[in-house]
């Protein structure tokens, strides 16, 4: 009744090709943006930002990045943790090398550096695909973690091999370090999340995204119709790594503040982000958000229910957590192999016909 195209007339081409062609969708999108930008910053405290919003926003960026590579371009990657580490260490070196520069610039540059590293490790994708490419990116994961552990220049020769984010600001507002305000770090991450989502969404709608999808669906056919696989694959690696690098930089500098490469950016991180996009939905920006929310918020929610409400022992809850999250993943993949994004799509289709489905 409310969710329909009827009565919404496009009179110009930009109107016709906008991201959310249905009016209800558009307003919902503006409402979410409004709540996220205008309402939440005035309501959050440290707990909300550090335990819930920040991990969600940062993992959403990483999931968007990986989704471009895996979901849109079909190049399986297990190197996400390694690329996040590149972003984090690049950001650390920039922060300590140029303390007076704004954090915005540092994070963007860290993304840029990661993009270059990503292209480098994307070169094998021109020759190999599928599982073999996964193994090649797995090598990137282990190599990068080893590199940041081994070469002490990356961690400024500190005794422990840890990197610590010093206090840095942007426009005079502290973004990193212990004395930050909850709303400032939240807004900082939110800006990057919105930026990533908008850029990714529009890239995937345009010619670049169509090339990626052509490569994903059938690379030989794509080549025959004139898609340059070198350009398509390497741009996918570059854009994907750019976002993953941004998320790594934020993960280290804004969220954790101190990072140890093996623990924070190990292979488990690569799998975590991969699970996010598989559960959320491959080839969908909304799916990246849904997957990140699912895997970040569900454990916190289960912990609050189990420990704080029911008063169960913490170890039982921690184990139950694994069982429930694991079980839900299996259920989701059986019931809806295309992820949460597909559920969303189906729901929208149903809404279009509601309340007269016949």
């Amino acid at each position: 009744m409310f969710y329909r195209e009827a009565g919404d007339f496009s009179t110009t081409y930009p109107q016709d090709s906008q991201t959310f062609p249905i009016k209800f969708d558009r307003w919902r999108y503006y409402a979410v943006l409004f709540v996220a930008v205008v309402v939440i910053p005035f309501m959050v405290n440290d707990y909300w930002v550090n335990s819930i919003f920040m991990p969600f926003l940062i993992y959403a960026i990483a999931a968007i990045g990986l989704n471009i590579l895996v979901g849109y371009c079909g190049q399986v990657s297990l190197g996400t943790g390694g690329f996040m580490a590149v972003g984090a260490y690049a950001c650390y070196k920039l922060m300590t090398g140029f303390p007076e520069v704004s954090m915005f610039i540092h994070v963007l540059l860290a993304g840029g550096i990661t993009a270059m590293v990503g292209v480098l490790f994307g070169l094998p994708s021109l020759r190999i695909k599928g599982f073999y490419l996964a193994v090649a990116t797995l090598a990137a994961q282990f190599f990068l973690v080893w590199l940041f552990n081994k070469v002490s220049w990356f961690y400024n020769y500190s005794a422990s091999g840890q990197i610590n984010a010093p206090e840095r600001d942007t426009f005079g507002i502290l973004i990193t370090g212990p004395n930050t305000e909850a709303w400032a770090t939240y807004m900082f991450c939110l800006i990057f999340t919105i930026f990533s989502a908008v850029v990714a969404r529009n890239l995937t709608r345009g010619s670049v995204g169509r090339q990626w999808m052509a490569i994903r669906d059938m690379d030989i056919a794509a080549e025959i119709i004139g898609v340059n696989p070198l350009k398509a694959k390497l741009t996918a690696f570059a854009v994907s790594s750019f976002f993953v690098g941004i998320s790594g930089a934020l993960f280290f500098a804004v969220y954790l503040g101190a990072v140890e490469v093996g623990e924070a950016f190990g292979i488990t991180k690569s799998f975590l982000v991969l699970f996010m996009i598989i559960i959320g939905g491959l080839g969908s920006i909304f799916g990246s958000f849904a997957g990140a929310a699912f895997l970040v918020l569900l454990p916190v929610l289960l912990k609050i229910i189990g420990v704080d409400w029911l008063g169960w022992p913490t170890d039982i809850v921690a184990h139950l957590n694994l069982v429930i999250v694991g079980g839900l993943i299996v259920v989701f993949l059986i019931a809806e192999p295309h992820g949460l994004a597909q559920l969303w799509r189906v729901a929208k289709e149903k809404l279009r016909l509601w309340p007269f489905p016949h």
């Binding site: 422990s160 206090e167 212990p178 929610l301 609050i304 704080d308 913490t314 921690a318």
Partner: protein, 427 residues
């Protein structure tokens, strides 16, 4: 977005619950994951001691204590979540039992005016209280441990170890890397040859490291391991028939559970110690009477007297004593975290005090000051007796080489101070 709204509602209810007047001790424990073998008994000991205080004395100075347990799984992200969710409850002191989480909490807790007690772990240079106002690592730190191990080797060799080969097998993390610089300095001073063998998290795969040890034949092996890594290392050492009496672990590699899987072959394995071993102390009788027999023990209640359990008891005891000092200093029983910090900074542990608490000779004596948050750094050595199934103390709490350690502490803390523009705490 729907998930977000759901959790909003949940936490709204959570925040609405009232805060009572009590002394809150968060326990960032890990009863799951590859490091649970050490995490469980420590968390049990920590909780049991406060339960005893509540049951026997009605709290500390008449104010009940409350242990808030939060599972971290030794994972830094969960550690952050635990810190944020517990700090609002009036947390007095954090003991994360993880070097990674400690590193993360140092700036945060300092900004929130909550002290951290990283007992025998964490950032070693935090011993310099002038820079690290809210971090304490008494009674001993990683560098004391490295020096104590070398001192023990020196004792065995009549004071001369020049030309000896010593290998360090370490957990490839901030924790394991901490002693490297100290050992390098000590190797310059004493003329031994140091080789470094890193073991990656979680430490189940050590074949290549021990193959290298078999090839290089070092005279002594020092280990900085934790969790499942310890058991594997002791087993591997037994497999290559490395003489166990030349194998010394840090205090995190010296629990019963680390050596038991290797059976008789682990006999003679040595480990440094922060506390006495066993349960032959008057306090343990009271623990049994008030806590275990009444069914109030944390966990399964079967860990009494194990090395990590004793360490948990010791950590809780030091925290409780610091509370008493703070209560006396500030003339109030329901202290705040800032007052707790003052209490910790003026803590003095003497033999008489420990005897009075029912823990004679349980740990080293030390005193904390504004400049020195690390105590005197006395460390004991224990040895595993496989037949009896227990660790035996073979050398009493002895001083370590502060001539080497102090300059390193000053250097590292000065670097931190400059990096973060920290003002002096002690003037």
């Amino acid at each position: 977005m729907n998930y977000k709204l759901g959790t909003w509602a949940v936490a709204g209810l959570m925040a609405a619950s009232p805060v009572m007047a009590d002394l809150v001790f968060p326990s960032l424990s890990y009863r799951t994951g590859p490091y649970a073998a050490g995490g469980i008994p420590f968390a049990d000991g920590y909780a049991d001691y406060f339960t005893l205080l509540n049951e026997r004395d009605g709290g500390i100075g008449g104010v009940m204590t409350r242990v808030l347990e939060c599972e971290t799984g030794y994972n830094t992200e969960k550690g952050v979540e635990c810190y944020e969710s517990t700090k609002g409850e009036g947390a007095l002191v954090y003991q994360p039992l993880s070097t990674g989480i400690t590193y993360q909490l140092i700036p945060k807790a300092t900004a929130d005016d909550i002290p951290i007690h990283s007992m025998g772990y964490g950032r070693t240079s935090a011993a310099n209280g002038d820079v690290f106002s809210h971090v304490f690592n008494y009674p001993a730190n990683y560098w004391n441990g490295a020096s104590a191990a070398i001192n023990h080797i020196l004792d065995l060799n009549g004071g001369d170890i020049s030309g000896k080969k010593i290998a360090l097998v370490y957990h490839n993390s901030a924790y394991g890397k901490e002693p490297i610089r100290t050992l390098e300095k000590l190797s310059e001073k004493h003329g031994f040859e140091l080789s470094l063998l890193a073991v990656d998290h979680p430490g189940q795969e050590q074949k290549s490291q021990w193959l290298q040890i078999r090839r290089e034949k070092p005279d002594n092996v020092i280990m900085y391991g934790w969790g499942v890594m310890n058991q594997v290392a002791v087993q591997e050492a037994a497999n290559i028939r490395f003489p166990m009496e030349n194998f010394i672990g840090i205090w995190w590699s010296g629990a019963e559970i680390d050596v038991q899987p290797a059976g008789d072959k682990a006999n003679g394995y040595k480990a440094l110690a922060l506390t006495a071993v066993g349960d032959d102390f008057p306090l343990y009788d009271e623990l049994r009477q008030y806590v275990v027999d009444t069914g109030k023990a944390a966990g399964a209640g079967d860990q009494l007297g194990t090395v990590p359990y004793n360490r948990g008891i010791y950590a809780a005891m030091l925290a409780a004593e610091a509370v008493k000092v703070a209560q006396k200093m500030h003339g109030t029983d329901d202290i705040t975290s800032g007052q707790m910090r003052d209490g910790m900074e003026n803590l003095v542990i003497t033999e008489e005090l420990m005897t009075e608490l029912g823990l004679p000779n349980f740990g080293p004596t030390f005193s904390v000051s504004c400049q020195n948050h690390g105590g005197e750094g006395l460390v004991a050595v224990t040895q595993w007796d496989a037949a009896a199934g227990e660790f035996v103390t073979i050398s009493d709490f002895a001083p370590t080489d502060m001539d080497v350690i102090q300059p390193l502490i000053d250097e590292d803390s000065a670097a931190y101070k400059a990096e973060n523009n920290i003002e002096s705490n002690c003037n």
